[in-house]
Symmetry: C2
Subunit: 462 residues, 2 copies
Amino acid sequence: MADHPPGIAAPGALLTDLYQLTMLQGYFERGMFDTAVFEFFARKLPACRNFYLAAGLEMALDYLEQLHFSDAELAWLDGLGRFSSAFLDYLAGLRFSGEVQAMPEGTLFFPQEPILRVTAPLPEAQLVESRLINLLHFQSLIASKALRSVLVADGRLLVDFGLRRAHGAEAAIFASRAAYLAGFDGTATVLAGAQFGIPLYGTMAHSFIQAHDSEELAFEHFARSLPEGLLLLIDTYDTEAAAAKVVALAPRLAASGIRVRGVRLDSGDLGEHARRVRRILDDGGLKEATIFASGNVDEYLIARLLEEGAPIDGFGVGTHLDTSADAPALDCAYKLQEYAGKPRRKRSEGKVTWPGRKQVFRRFDEHGHCCGDTLSVEGDRIEGTPLIVPVMRGGRRLQASPSLEQVRAYVRGQVASLPPALRRLPAAEAYPVQVAPALEALAREADRLIGLATAGPAPSAR
Amino acid sequence: MADHPPGIAAPGALLTDLYQLTMLQGYFERGMFDTAVFEFFARKLPACRNFYLAAGLEMALDYLEQLHFSDAELAWLDGLGRFSSAFLDYLAGLRFSGEVQAMPEGTLFFPQEPILRVTAPLPEAQLVESRLINLLHFQSLIASKALRSVLVADGRLLVDFGLRRAHGAEAAIFASRAAYLAGFDGTATVLAGAQFGIPLYGTMAHSFIQAHDSEELAFEHFARSLPEGLLLLIDTYDTEAAAAKVVALAPRLAASGIRVRGVRLDSGDLGEHARRVRRILDDGGLKEATIFASGNVDEYLIARLLEEGAPIDGFGVGTHLDTSADAPALDCAYKLQEYAGKPRRKRSEGKVTWPGRKQVFRRFDEHGHCCGDTLSVEGDRIEGTPLIVPVMRGGRRLQASPSLEQVRAYVRGQVASLPPALRRLPAAEAYPVQVAPALEALAREADRLIGLATAGPAPSAR
């Protein structure tokens, strides 16, 4: 492994589906290089989500800017014997030269609303489908999940603990990023700190305790080795007994200028243990020591614990966050909406799409809460704030990327605009997304062009 | 992006949790370099799984062989201001020098059974926890899920279609590999073909159809561009109408020596469409054309379609496979079981572990079906075939990696050993895993050493 700056290397142009390459060969042979318009959007919300939060745009733009086939990749493709040398020569020179319009990262979005549009020569716009979905889907999935914990945690510390059960390396660091973007305070995953500058948090593992002949000794060694940010894990053998050991140890540490910052619970009834441990710490003079909880934590458990008044100051959220366990995938797609100036749409059962280049217009009520979106064609003049903005032209970003801190600030504004019903965990009535007459007319035009009768009911919003 | 051979680059040593590094500094400062034994195992089976299938060992061994901190990584760690220069110097020279014992990839396993053991100086064995879990968890998760489709598909073609909704790049290619290992026929993900030599499959997307002014023209262009392995996607506008167009086109293609191999369905009631399309193809003289189905396919749908007698010859399985959607994570852990010659175990509520270096002994009945496992200490002489074998010593593999084809053959043997009840999709009675007296005695010894009363009931097997 060659040394490289900390971070995960891009996987290259072969991270695509085989059919993209076979279709590209078809386009190439027929000279089909006209401008195509594709849009990425999600279909129905799962019952356990009231909104989506857009994320992954930065990685999507990185991917488009860097897209090329290396010599090694071309040689490997050549070896498959499926592709002509003329086509491989074409691939050797292929770069992404198109435009991208998108909702900024951190924007709330709803079913049928595109969050990204690619406008480019057909082969370029086609090839990038698989990886663009892979990037936008996953980070939006995790950001949407993470924001639910942020909404119920009411300011308590939230840390991503999910590396070990995330689905591979990229999932781990992209989940850290998506969670931080949505309002988490940081992550335990070191590489996410290195690659994205996300604040790192960490305590200690059971193995540290177990490697010592006694828990007391383990606590003292750990405290003296890591005097700052000291959190002691107290559930290895007996949680309350360990809390008493922390109380007993604290004066000796204090004599060396070391303060116990808090304890971590990781098993059992977290609320009940937190109450008992709080009492032990308070009675032992450690009123300022915090209680941090982990172990199977998700937004439902956070909400229940806090409703019960559990004295917990922060949560490590791992597996449920990094896998979006209650909805591990979104029903999303990247579909051709226009080719060579003609509107197009898919009419497959249950998967009918709206054609053309679209814009989403969002309206707000007197409290600043969003109260309804309209999906229409780009350039339509209707009420509401347009959410989709130009971000790339000629294959290059139009402006420098916002920092993650800027995106977090933007998300706080989005959160402030969430209607109260959508902030709660249970399924709310679907947020209203209506379709403008101009878009309905375009759909009729697309059907007519392909020789079909006009489709029936519009795709539903939930 | 520098050119590199097709494949995903290793993410490096910083793909770990912060606490591993802080604990390592603690071990370093206290001179705790004695031999530690950690084991990776899964706890309870989810109700939607009757077995686990071990996968990911090869990547785990690659990781251990390559483990080191690059200069850039060390510089970045130094910049955090958390670590002493003596400790960073130690990290600079750190390599994995230990032993690994493991179940071969493709072995069936059950709750509480370790599939991998690391025996190494404590800091080395500790540091690798996060990434080892990340690697073994995900591939075992997907292999276990994939084998369920293999069991119900009864020889029909199975192809991984999951790249777009897999959780990132590594998840996509590792899912392709785990599915292929478990018996899938191939994948659509090109990079998985390049990196692992997995057979590639692909058809065409709706966009190819939509980019043409008519479906007939799209079919013909595609057929002439890709005369081999020709599968036409027929659900873009109207499935049965498209099947009739394929029939009409076939003689003209045949005149050019091009044979329509089959069609793909991707929406609607797949069974009903398959029956109607089969009739249209048969009546049109295309009796040998196959029907391939995709779109929200998982093992439950495959089982139902085949029970109904749907004439489907193959399936593309995507999102449900690559995210293991009905169980997107396994409850698994990597725990310290021995340090400096002393058995250790965790006693946390609901998470009690069995200490020591363990072996799994599997018994078989007269049909060759496995009928019960015993968990005991390594070296115990009891009935059954020991499943855990040495794979690494001194930080180096003991032998060359088996090919994926060899692992697939081994999996076929494992499948032949599955008792009938465990082959079915519904939850079966838990497979019997018993704990040998020698291991129970070691657990008492571990508790005594740490000054605890002996624990209550053994961890349950389901």
